[in-house]
Every structure is written in C-alpha cells, then in structure tokens.
Symmetry: C2
C-alpha cells in the first residue's frame, strides 16, 4: 500500500470528521429544535433572562439572541477561555476548565442571583453544554473552591466516571442537581441542552443544574469511599450533615436536548458513504479504559481486512462516546490521542485511524485528537520514537506532535463527546489460515517466522 493511498484515506478521515462537527453545531441544533419550544417563547413575559454554562454555550447564546433579539433583558454565560461568540445582550464570562477558578465562582454566583430574582412573570432560558459542571462552580455554604477542586482532581485522576464525579459535585454545590431551577422558581425555566454524556441523561449533563436530582448525600459519600478519596474536613462534614437533599420535583422547569453524539456519528456515516466507504456505526456509547477500547477497534479493522466482517472493505468504522484514561504517569495527552496511539500499535496494513473530541480540546492539550495509519510505527521508528514508551507514559501528545499528526481544530463551539473513525482501504482480502484450512491447497511448508514483537 503506497503513501498516496494513505494520504487519500487520511484526507477522507479528516473530511468525515469535519462533517461530524458540522452536524453537532449547537446553533443548527437549536434551529432544529425550535418548533418544540416556540410556544413557550410566544407567551408574554416581563423579562427574559439567558444564563448557562459550557464550552458550547456561547454559540448557543448567539442563536438564542438571533431568535429573541431585544426581548432578552440580559443574562450571563460562563464559558471556557477562548470558547467565545459575539453577543449583544448576554454577557460572557470566561473561566477555567477542567479545573474551575474564581472567575467561574463569581459568574456562577451572578447566575444564581439572576435566577433567584426572576419573578412569576419572567422566563429564564438556561443553556447547558459540555464542561458545565466545571464551569458552574458554586461551592455549598461552608465550602471553598479549594475543597471542591481537591476532590474533583482526585476523582478525575483515579478513573471515576462522569456519573460518579457529578454525583459528588452535586452535593458540594449550591447550584447543581436542580438547585439552579429551584432558585429560578416561580419564573418559567427553559433549559436547552447539548448533551456530552453517554446515554444523554439530563441529570448528569452539566451536573443537571435545572433537573430534578435523584442522587443522595449517601451516594456521594459512597463514591469517595469506593475510590479511597480523603476529602477535606469541611467536605466530610458537609456530606455527613445532609443539610437538604436536592429537589426531586421542578414543575416550572422544562428541558430539551438540542444535540448529542449520535447526530455527529450519523453525519460521519453519511459522509463516509458519499466518499465510497461502507460505514458501520459500532456504538455511540463507548466507555472504558482507552487503550483496551482502542485495541478492540483495531481488532475489528483487522477482521474487516482479513474476512470482510463485520463489513466489507473499503469500510469506515465509526464510534462515539467517551473513554477514560487512568493516569499512572504524567505525560501529556488526551483520551483521543491515546486512543490513536494505542490503536496504531495494533493496526494491520491498510488502515487509517482518527479520534478527536468534538469540542476541539483533547485533555489538557491544544489538539482535538490525532490521526495515524498503518505506517505510523515505521515512521516513528525512523525518528527514534518508541510508541510503547509514549503510551506507557500517557504521552501521546508529544508522540503525535513529533510526527505532525495532531488534529488541531481550535474551539469548535460544540461538544458532543468524541468521534472515532477507522478507514480501511479497498484491497483484495487476505486469506487467513483458518479460511485456508477449509480449502485443499498444497502442503504448506515452513514459512518465514514473524518475531513475536512484530505483531504488537
């Protein structure tokens, strides 16, 4: 397989990813969903306030301004640094992510205040997107941001999933787990959500500031115990006190999902088909440890090329969701870059793999993800890079940076988790030994032996 063919596969993979990004655009999502909330907008209000948080919420606010214009009295969105839009009536407040900062706290406090001051004649529109948990940090009374950060950092590092992290966050917060909606009553509340979680569970997205919360203080304590996390004394005291469980009923609040991972994945499938690949969506809800998930993707691509199962080549395997990296070393990278690196170690000839976050940011890096192909190991070796060592250090960023294979999109204005693509080239199927055993060819002599290492 020549260089030129890999270049074609790489170009196609990047175009397919761009199609996924376009479909996940939150402005497009709000336009699509508008018939479902227009009736609520058509009622008379004294004031309409727009609040929210998340990496895509600035873009969402832009569309809400386009729809409502001067009817908006004001509002505030906590957004991640650089995730901006030019707004006229809604203020943007840039804050830190994934570790919250005091700017986030100040913004969250003002958002809580806007909600609290809204009356029964008002409408509050809340725009929630990925990152809202970290971007809406309002510690419960008696707690500091440090108390919360200390716990969050440990949860992120120990491989806890987003559900577990958010259950804890909801019980250290004065705004999450439906508490923002409780503050907004008796005003009407419309929440538009761009989902960035597996299964699109509203109570989990952004830690559900405007949705009823079924989780409890007891569960939050249990999760800390499960991961052997030692909270500060103030946190332990707060969780033990169980001051007031979060609201389980919020009749004035309505919530709509305007975008999710499946839209991106389906658009990728459609673009792949147009480019001559047989698309196969494996799942939009992939979780688990990144490197093992990557190996399984590579094993499926290998099967495509060896037996034409589960789909014939040229194929485009597509999956969505969000994997985990259990940190046991301090390299630089993100789950998407690590996915591509781990997959590259197992790729048969004729495959290109791309994985990237739809928000444009993969872990604490300036890349969205990475791209590799079956020749990446050879190229790396030629430059003296040891892919196994980079993977062991979780240092995928520096590996792909050296190869020029990082995918950089900048902030995309959306966030519907990750998209992973494996493109397989059209070529004659390789006969596997098992297949051969069915047929009656001549006696097979010894063959050149592959060193065991060449397989990995």
């Amino acid at each position: 397989m020549g260089q030129v063919t890999y270049q074609k596969l790489r170009r196609d993979a990047q175009a397919i990813f761009r199609a996924a990004l376009r479909a996940a655009d939150p402005r497009e999502g709000i336009r699509r969903a508008r018939p479902r909330f227009q009736a609520l907008l058509d009622r008379p209000y004294d004031h309409i306030y727009v609040v929210g948080a998340g990496k895509a919420s600035a873009a969402m606010a832009l569309e809400v301004e386009r729809i409502l214009g001067r009817r908006i009295s004001g509002g505030l969105i906590n957004t991640k640094h650089g995730h901006l839009a030019t707004l006229r009536r809604i203020e943007l407040n840039e804050c830190a992510h994934p570790v919250p900062d005091e700017a986030g706290v100040a913004g969250a406090r003002r958002i809580a205040q806007i909600a609290a001051e809204a009356t029964a004649q008002d409408l509050v529109i809340c725009l929630i997107s990925g990152g809202a948990s970290a971007l809406l940090p309002l510690p419960a009374e008696g707690l500091t941001l440090d108390d919360k950060q200390h716990v969050t950092r440990q949860l992120l590092a120990c491989g806890a999933n987003i559900h577990e992290i958010n259950t804890v966050r909801k019980h250290l917060s004065a705004i999450k787990g439906g508490q923002l909606a409780a503050l907004a009553a008796p005003a009407k509340l419309l929440t538009l959500v761009l989902s960035d979680v597996i299964g699109d569970d509203l109570s989990v997205i952004g830690s559900g500031p405007t949705v009823p919360d079924g989780s409890t203080f007891a569960q939050a304590r249990e999760i800390l115990a499960r991961y052997r996390i030692q909270p500060s004394a103030a946190v332990a005291r707060h969780l033990a006190a169980e001051a007031r469980e979060n609201p389980t009923r919020l009749p004035h609040a309505q919530t709509l999902i305007v975008g999710a991972n499946r839209l991106a994945v389906d658009a990728a499938a459609s673009e792949a088909r147009q480019r001559g690949y047989r698309p196969l969506v494996l799942s939009t809800t992939i979780e688990g440890e990144t490197r093992d998930v990557a190996r399984m993707h590579a094993a499926i691509a290998r099967e495509v090329l060896e037996s034409g199962q589960p789909v014939r080549s040229p194929a485009c395997l597509i999956s969505g969701g969000e994997t985990t990296v259990t940190l046991d070393a301090d390299g630089k990278g993100g789950r998407n870059q690590e996915f591509v690196l781990a997959a590259a170690l197992d790729l048969p000839p004729g495959v290109v793999v791309l994985s990237a976050g739809t928000d444009g940011t993969d872990g604490p890096t300036d890349a969205a993800g990475a791209i590799a192909d079956s020749q990446t190991l050879t190229k790396a070796k030629a430059r003296g890079l040891d892919p196994r060592a980079y993977l062991a250090r979780h240092d995928s960023y520096h590996f792909f940076d050296a190869l020029g294979d990082l995918i950089r999109t900048g902030p995309t204005g959306t966030n519907v988790m990750d998209v992973r693509l494996l493109l397989t080239a059209a070529r004659p199927l390789v006969k596997s030994s098992a297949k051969a055993a069915k047929e009656p060819p001549a006696l097979k002599a010894e063959r050149p032996v592959k060193s065991p290492k060449s397989r990995r």
Copy 2:
C-alpha cells in the same frame, strides 16, 4: 421483556455456542485437512511416530490413529488431566495445566527422545494444540521446572500477552522454539496444529516446538525487564549466556493448521442466522483487558437496541479471540466469566450475553464460561450478591455459581480460544434523545431522574 423471552434467548445462545464447538472439533479439522498431507503419508517409512501436546491433542491423536492404524509404531502425547481419548498405539500422559508439573517434564523428555531417535527413514507426526506451552515443559540444561514456573507464574499474573510469555518460555526450554524439530532431523516431520492464538502465528502456538524461531535471548530478557520480573539466578545466567539461538531453518519440517477460532465463530454466525438472528462477527482477534472489552461489547448491544446499528435486532453479535485479566485480587474466575459479569453491569434490557472457552475450561475453574441477561443484576440483588464487588475481586465464578449461570461443558477435546455472543431480542426500537431531537414532538417536561448508579 418477560422471563420466557430471556429463556428463549438463553437457549439460543447455548445452542449457538454448541454449534461453534462442533465446528472447532479437531477430528473434523484433520479430516478436512487430510487432502493436504495425504501425499506425505503415502510415502514408505520404517516407522511413524506420533507425539504432541495440548488440550485437544488426545482427540487429534484419535483421528490420526483412525487414518494410519497399525502404521503407527508408537508415540506419546502430553495432555491435560481429563482431556483424554481412547487410543490404541499412542500413549497418553496426563499433566498439569496451566502450571506445568514433573509428569509434564517426564513426558516432554520422552517426546524429545522419540524425536531424537527417529531416522531418515521415519516420519514423526506432531500434534499441537492449545496449552502445549505449559504441557511440554522441558527446562533448558541447568534450569529446573521451579525456575521456569517462577517466571511463568509472574508473567501470567502481570498481564503479559501470550506472545511475550512464549518468547520467554522458548528461551528457558530445551524443546520449544523449533528445538523439537531440530531433534527430529533427519526424519520427516509433519505438524498438525489446532490454533489457539490470535492471528494463528505458528511460531507462537504451543511456543512453536517444530517451527523456526525468530525470537532471541535478548527479547526474552527485555520482556522480563518490561514487567519488572526478577528471575532466579539460574534463569538470569541462562538468558545472559545465549548458549545457542533457536533454529531459524527447518527444511525437513512441514506444518498445517487444521482448526482455528474463525471456524468456530463462522459456525456460530451460521447457527444464529438459522435461529432468526442477524449475525454480526465483530472480530476473531479480540485482545485486551477483559472488563473494558466487555463494556465495549455491551455498548454495541445497546446501540443495536437503540438505533439498529451496527445491525438491526434481533441480532447476534459474535467475537472471538482471547482477552486478559490483570490480577489484582485473588477471587476465582476466568476471563470468560469475568467478561460476562462486566458486560452484565452495562446491559440494556433485552440482551443475553454468553462467553466461554472452547476448551471447556475457563481459568482455574470447572466451568467453560457463563451466561447472563439484562435481569441478572436484579436477580443478584435479590440474593444479596453485589456484582461490582465480585468483579473487583475477580470472583466471577462464585457470582455465577450462586446464580446457576455457569456454563459447564467438561473437556471438549478442542481449543480455539473463546467465543462471545450477545443476543438482542426483537422489539420496537427505543427512541434515543438525539433521534428525538430531529423530530418535532411536543415540549418535553421534566422526567423521572435516574440515579447515576442505576446506569452502571
């Protein structure tokens, strides 16, 4: 979904697994391959000796006796305890597996002797199947079985893959890595192989006692270093001495694969189709940490039920290969039982999952694997069993034993790695939120909130 439907799915899953077992029968495999080696048998020989090792090698020997009858002068097969067949001319020697014992050493020494004494007018037939590495233990000069076991135990426990384990074994052995074939020269040598390794690499199966060996002493040392394994002084000395690298050319030796995982997987697909399921073979080369691989399988089943991708329900997802369990606790179980337990934690309604080893033995247990469905968690709860705790302890055997959900086949006489099945019930597709966002239904009000724990 009622109990009755799950019972139907379970029955179908078990029947599909049985079909996979039938296709992997090594006697059937030898019959299928016979046209490819008959010419070699048809030559005149003074003696024909049959040797070998592996869990399926007794069954293979039975078929060879059927073909050659009295032409066989004698021979010896090292087999695993209980993996027997009634042979007339070939002796069976029962040994321990996966940790080798002195019976194995005594048998291996006699096998080496038979090969060494064969002349240019003789034919040696060698029957290799899964487990042959542990069942053909002949320590290199100066080493004891204890030396080898000490290293093997550590390699098994630390998550090293079979390629790595065998590279080390080949360099601590007097018979592996082509050394048995070197002993057999100048006799003709025919090796029939039932493959139990990913990719069917002949140099890896049974540590390749009759195939040229490209691996080196340096690689063996490297693998021990990678996993920070401290060998005994004798082993370290032996590996450092590099007495003689294994043979890289063996012109008198010929090797044929008579069975492999794909045959079992393809037969499962065929049986599933006959039972009304849409089969989808994901891959026959699945490796990686069991619980993460299991979660990905569950995520694909979820997608089948939510969106009809990658295949419409009723579907049968099938995969083969062999996963790893990194032991960090001392429960009882095997990779197949752990796969089913981990998958059960993530199953949506309407799914049955079965995973079993084709050899009938899953890890150090008397079960081949296990079966579970979407109601397993509920049943477990009713009995006070905490599935997460069992998984954390790698104690899947006791979990499924308590539920009566172990799969017990007894020794099957074959070994082509594992077969995993996920059957999804026919039912109307569940609309996901993302799908719903495309359509114009009424405004969505708050909904009962799932506790985050209910998802896992």
